[in-house]
């Protein structure tokens, strides 16, 4: 039973890891995106909706194993579009990043509820068909590899130094010939795409359902994980696994018949609060985080 719990924790950790790694990339470049929750929601809807449309409305012939991949790509595409909007607001327009992020969350909450109703004609709940489902362990492995890759990118390559310079000291980066806003925009787009893929994972791999509340706070747990990991993708693996463990534990306790369902569902949120409160003192965010860069 315990080994099953640990495997379940890995699956529960995956969306948080994907979104957190993306957000670390974004925040290391100096942009905050608190719209992760909304991006997850949009991604969770976009993938299944796109492949359903392609299969039934367009009548496209696609080899079966490709459907989930197409779904994930569709979600990533939506993430890229939203990331471009948020990135553009946060860089060239020097807009308010927090308000923009909140707008993404509010818009997504409405758009997903509306989209499920408008497309499938059902209120807020749609099963994902078997042919569109992806193997959650494949995505979980991808997420782990991606975290290691992002760590390597950020700390062992020249590009990583450039990205981090934009987040720490954009003035100097600019004087060294770096196009700060362009780097930030691209980092935001990449981070948003990953958050949307995390959403696709929820709907087509992990939960096999699209609902209007499918993200259930995971976007914000991912934000908490960024702080916990001190903006380091490798530590984010540990963080995501701890958060995932509590998520899985809540379901595990439920199947074991321990405690009431509602109490066990609170576990991940309470754990997140306690963990963030515990590590907050030593968190060291990028110095220029959330501050738009303007040439003097």
């Amino acid at each position: 039973m315990i080994d099953l719990l640990l495997l379940q924790a890995l699956l529960a950790a995956t969306p948080i890891l994907l979104a957190a790694v993306g957000e670390i990339l974004t925040e290391r470049s100096g942009v905050v995106n608190i719209g992760l929750e909304g991006l997850m929601l949009l991604g969770a809807l976009a993938g299944p909706l796109f492949v359903d449309y392609l299969k039934y409305k367009v009548g496209a012939q696609v080899p079966d194993p490709l459907w989930p991949l197409l779904a994930i790509l569709a979600s990533a595409f939506v993430g890229i579009v939203v990331g471009l909007v948020h990135g553009y607001i946060s860089t060239y327009l020097a807009g308010d990043q927090i308000i923009s992020g909140v707008a993404i969350n509010l818009f997504a909450a409405g758009a997903v509820a509306y989209g499920i109703q408008a497309y499938w004609g059902v209120a807020g709940y749609k099963q994902v068909p078997d042919w569109a489902k992806a193997d959650p362990y494949v995505v979980a492995t991808f997420a782990l590899a991606l975290a290691v890759f992002t760590w390597f990118l950020l700390f062992k390559t020249r590009l990583g130094i450039v990205i981090r310079a934009c987040g720490e000291d954009p003035e100097s980066a600019f004087n060294m010939g770096v196009d700060v806003n362009k780097v930030r925009l691209l980092a935001t787009v990449a981070g948003s795409a990953l958050a949307a893929v995390a959403g696709a994972y929820l709907s087509i791999a992990y939960l096999s359902v699209v609902t209007k509340e499918i993200s259930a706070g995971r976007g914000f747990i991912a934000l908490a994980n960024v702080v916990f990991a001190n903006w380091n993708p490798l530590l984010a693996i540990a963080g995501a696994y701890i958060f995932g463990f509590f998520d899985a534990l809540s379901y595990w306790l439920q199947t074991m018949g321990v405690g009431r369902y509602e109490i066990t569902r609170m576990v991940p949120y309470v754990a997140t609060l306690l963990i963030v409160a515990g590590v907050m003192g030593r968190a060291k965010p990028p110095r220029a985080l959330g501050k738009p860069f303007k040439r003097e």
């Binding site: 608190i34 909007v85 607001i89 327009l93 020097a94 807009g95 308010d96 927090i98 308000i99 923009s100 909140v102 707008a103 993404i104 969350n105 509010l106 818009f107 997504a108 909450a109 409405g110 758009a111 509820a113 509306y114 109703q117 408008a118 497309y119 209007k212 259930a216 706070g217 914000f220 747990i221 934000l223 908490a224 702080v227 009431r260 509602e262 109490i263 569902r265 609170m266 949120y269 309470v270 997140t272 609060l273 963030v276 409160a277 907050m280 003192g281 501050k291 738009p292």
Partner: protein, 334 residues
């Protein structure tokens, strides 16, 4: 941190752009934009009953809008109104469970407000004591509140006669419609009066001044002998009073059920609507009330839109998100 407020031009532009994008979205998904917008915005104004119902919708949004506005004043991004509304409603239901008769009403206010303030004290204390970002802590508290309330209304406070809702507020303790045949209860004047009090508080009280100064510039505040931590605490506490009030009123002053739905449908999302109201209302109590009336009209209109044009109710939330997005686009940090 400093948040900028929008100008009237910003707001007008955001509305125009949001409705334009909304038109495109409706067109793509095969609904008629013209009849939808007409049902959403004109129908609620065409009949007194509809308009009073729109005002009834505006009351809780004005109150949660005040929560968010008070946070902004103190430099906080307090999105915990959602959970505090649940707590307010839970307190009211607990009062209905514990007592009978008219005594339920004062107890509902007392318990609802106390629970909401207690709930907000967790992120407030974590912020002051550990520097925990309030965005994360309030969202986590919202989810805990969600499950606490769901559990309470499906166990101890369940209604044996109606499985869909909690125990009801007894008739003598209800705030019934002031205009018979509508949803317009004392909740509306109470909410607007609360906005007026918050306005007086912010403008004329010492603490209101302290909150504004420490939100504007915490370092300067310190040099004037103001403790920003205390301003944070006061802003959180006062914000939770208005949010808790919204929750209590949804139970004691909202026909026809006078109870809390098992799935929390009659309180769900009110905290987040308040963010929209606060942003549109420029964080100013009067603006928040006006914005909440506008949102109330949209909410009431959504019902008509679904019936008259067949466009899903949820569409108004899409529009609201777009409005805020286009506002963010214009709020340039200087």
């Amino acid at each position: 941190m400093r948040f900028q407020t929008a100008s009237a031009v910003n707001i007008a532009a955001a509305l125009v752009m949001a409705f334009a994008v909304g038109t495109a979205l409706m067109w793509i998904s095969g609904y008629d934009p013209l009849s939808s917008y007409s049902a959403m915005l004109i129908t609620p104004l065409s009949d007194w009953v509809y308009f009073l119902s729109a005002l009834a919708f505006s009351a809780p949004m004005a109150l949660t809008g005040l929560t968010f506005s008070l946070g902004l004043r103190a430099g906080l991004f307090n999105i915990g109104a959602e959970g505090q509304v649940y707590m307010g409603a839970l307190g009211a239901v607990a009062a209905a469970y514990l007592l009978g008769g008219p005594a339920v009403l004062p107890l509902a206010f007392a318990m609802g407000l106390i629970l909401a303030v207690l709930w907000s004290s967790v992120p407030a204390v974590l912020k002051i004591w550990r520097g925990v970002n309030e965005v994360i802590s309030t969202i986590m508290m919202n989810w805990v509140a969600y499950w606490v309330t769901i559990m309470a209304v499906s166990t101890a406070f369940a209604n044996p006669l109606q499985p869909e809702e909690s125990v009801k507020v007894p008739e003598p303790a209800r705030l019934t419609p002031l205009v018979p045949g509508t949803d317009f209860t004392a909740a509306v004047p109470i909410a607007y009066a609360a906005a007026f009090l918050v306005l007086i508080f912010l403008k004329y009280s010492v603490w209101g001044y302290r909150i504004s100064v420490s939100g504007y510039n915490p370092i300067a505040a310190k040099s004037y002998g103001i403790k920003p931590e205390r301003a944070v605490l006061v802003a959180f506490a006062l914000g939770s009073v208005t949010a808790g009030l919204a929750g209590v009123l949804q139970v004691v002053a909202r026909p026809p059920s006078y109870s809390l739905a098992r799935n929390l449908a009659n309180v769900y999302g009110l905290g987040f609507d308040g963010i929209t109201a606060a942003m549109l209302g420029r964080g100013h109590p009067v603006g928040v009330v006006l914005a909440s009336i506008f949102l109330g009209i949209m909410q009431e209109g959504a019902r008509h839109m679904q019936i008259e044009a067949g466009t899903p109710y949820e569409f108004v939330k899409v529009i609201q998100g777009l409005i805020i997005l286009f506002l963010a686009l214009q709020l340039l940090r200087k």
